[in-house]
């Protein structure tokens, strides 16, 4: 009986040792991958920030309408924001790879599904960046055009155009992320339609006299505004 007990204890101890021996390399690999991703993240951040400084990214970001990137986070500037984002992306990828190294079923499936989702996040970010630049471009074009047409509410017009483009870009980005697709599309349609309807009612009913007077002023003023100088 003692021999049998000893054998059972020995087999149990062997199984535990074997399990630990099988698990420890995974843990070591996890720690190594995490440490490597932390170091890589810091390096990637520094390299990114230096590269962005080389192409004067902060100045260009201001021109493209991305100057407020730094305001959205604790980053001091747009290039710092991008640098931090790159660092976090490397770190998150490292964590996912580390989880896969553990060879556990659930974390591996989670990591794979996150990797599969990444293209959507990237395309949403691209849509947001392009939308922000487009909003800045159209807002400035409308502002300058309206000033040269002597429209006194040029800033309001420009502001409206900017936010219209930004809202459309945000909706497209959310669509890319596949979050609440139908609800968001519906909400956007209702919101946009509501804004247009409200504006139509406000102009048509509430402010029709004011609009009429403004149009009259515009017509009355037009012949006087065109000076008869040949400027060239």
């Amino acid at each position: 009986m003692w021999v049998q007990l000893q054998r059972i204890m020995s087999e149990a101890a062997n199984r535990i040792v074997k399990s630990v021996a099988e698990f420890v390399p995974g843990i070591l690999a996890l720690v190594a991958v995490l440490a490597a991703s932390v170091i890589l993240g810091v390096i990637a951040r520094q390299v990114t920030m230096r590269a962005l400084a080389g192409v004067e990214f902060d100045r260009r970001a201001q021109q493209w309408g991305l100057g407020k990137l730094g305001d959205w986070s604790s980053a001091k500037s747009a290039s710092s924001f991008v640098g931090r984002t790159v660092q976090w992306v490397v770190l998150i990828v490292g964590i996912l790879v580390a989880l896969t190294a553990l060879d556990a079923a659930i974390p591996s499936r989670f990591a794979l599904s996150v990797f599969e989702y990444m293209p959507h996040v990237l395309s949403a970010l691209i849509v947001l960046a392009v939308g922000s630049a487009a909003a800045q471009f159209f807002a400035r074009a409308v502002l300058i055009g309206a000033v040269n047409m002597q429209i006194h509410s040029a800033r309001i017009l420009s502001f409206s155009v900017k936010w219209l483009v930004l809202i459309v870009a945000t909706s497209m980005a959310v669509e890319q992320l596949q979050i609440g697709r139908q609800i968001l599309t519906l909400a956007f349609g209702i919101l946009f339609g509501g804004v247009v309807l409200t504006a139509s009612l406000a102009v048509g009913l509430g402010a029709k006299d004011a609009v009429g007077r403004a149009i009259e002023r515009q017509y009355d003023r037009a012949p006087q505004e065109r000076d008869h100088l040949d400027h060239v």
Binding site: Q63, A146, V147, Q150, Q224, H228
Partner: protein, 401 residues
């Protein structure tokens, strides 16, 4: 010697122009030849020109193809297809080994036979290469040329051409060959920049340049002229593009030379427009109110502060000084080069500033007869501040926010 007339559906005026030019050629250079460059007129322009020239002067017709009109493009302040028309005249003159060539617009109503010796004699007798026109105009007409083009020409290219973007011109065979060797003709904005480009090519290319006083200039207007913003964008854009293309050359030029003037002033002021300063001041103030954030990307912070003070000044104290205006123009030229924003945005943002300058110019000179002196002082300041432009051009990072 060749005199080219460029036309497109100008049956109403081409007959008179051909008759007067032919008379000028017959009187002053009987061996001369008339070239009509026509862009495919459908109103009988060519026939009218041929019948007007008959028995007076030989007329050769050459074709040029007008570029396709972009329906979305802004209306053009000048002659659509002008670059192609001038090129075909120059080619015709080159093929005939002409010693001198002049180009005249078929829409002119003020051309006279005396224009021929004024444009061609300096080339034939005095060995000048480029004869720029000098038209008598109302003091406040051509203000874009007076405030930006002429002072920049003086400061950058070293010649005091008063109307570098004038319509007509005369040139020597030497300059003609030089112009034909260039690739500018196919450039996208060649039509709006061709006059400035030819004048600057002569000025910086080692050619002798002079002016010809031609009296007043009137022409038939077929389309509504574009608004001031469009015209300013096209003309100043043409100048800035030329400055960018010739950056290697103008940075080495120091000082400027006055040019001899041939012909005599006729005292013909063709137009007496009514000038109202108030709307210009309103547009400047509206511009400051709405565009100061855009201007902040273009001009230096100190300049922006001065513009703020100007926007707040009451009309009697509103004075756009020469230094401030020069600083503004140079900052816009640097921003054009640095691509701080799309070029049409940049040039559009200049309009309220230009109108502010013009309002101040009118206020300062109205009734004083001080216009030429005021413009000469402006040219001096452009010359004086040229080192600032050169420094900004060479080390743009120092001038950025």
């Amino acid at each position: 010697m060749v005199v080219g007339i460029i036309s497109y559906n100008d049956a109403d005026t081409v007959g008179d122009v051909v008759r007067r030019v032919s008379a000028g050629i017959a009187a002053h250079a009987p061996q001369g030849c008339l070239v009509l460059a026509d862009g495919g007129s459908t109103d009988g322009t060519v026939k009218r020109a041929e019948s007007a020239a008959a028995d007076v002067c030989p007329l050769v017709t050459v074709d040029y193809s007008r570029p396709a009109l972009d329906p979305l493009a802004a209306p053009y302040h000048g002659w659509y297809g002008r670059a192609a028309a001038i090129l075909s005249v120059l080619r015709a003159a080159s093929a005939r080994t002409a010693a001198a060539c002049a180009v005249i617009d078929a829409r002119l109503t003020s051309v006279s036979p005396e224009w021929m010796p004024s444009l061609l004699e300096p080339v034939l007798s005095e060995e000048f290469d480029y004869v720029a026109p000098y038209y008598e105009r109302h003091p406040y007409e051509g203000a874009i040329t007076k405030s930006v083009i002429a002072p920049m020409f003086r400061a950058l290219y070293g010649v005091r051409l008063r109307q570098p973007a004038g319509g007509e011109f005369g040139c020597s065979s030497r300059l003609l060959q030089h112009l034909l060797d260039q690739t500018y003709w196919a450039a996208k904005d060649a039509d709006s920049g061709i006059d400035i480009w030819m004048a600057s090519a002569a000025a910086v290319g080692g050619f002798r340049v002079c002016e010809a006083a031609l009296g007043g200039r009137t022409h038939v207007v077929k389309e509504d002229p574009p608004d001031v913003s469009t015209a300013l964008g096209q003309v100043v854009g043409g100048m800035f593009a030329d400055v960018e293309a010739r950056a290697e050359t103008w940075q080495r030029i120091r000082g400027s030379q006055t040019l001899p003037v041939f012909g005599r002033s006729r005292g013909e002021m063709t137009r007496q427009p009514v000038v109202d300063v108030e709307p210009m001041l309103d547009r400047f103030r509206l511009g400051f109110d709405a565009l100061r954030d855009v201007w902040a990307w273009i001009v230096a912070p100190r300049t922006l502060l001065q513009l703020k003070a100007l926007a707040e000044a009451p009309a009697p104290q509103f004075r756009f000084g020469n230094e401030l205006w020069t600083q503004v123009v140079y900052d816009f030229a640097l921003a054009y080069r640095a691509r701080s924003m799309p070029h049409d945005h940049l040039l559009g943002a200049l309009t309220p500033l230009y109108l502010g300058w013009l309002a101040s110019f009118v206020e300062e000179t109205c009734g004083t007869g001080d216009v030429e002196d005021r413009l000469a002082r402006l040219g001096e300041v452009f010359e004086m501040k040229k080192p600032y432009l050169i420094a900004g051009w060479r080390w743009p990072e120092r001038f950025r926010v």
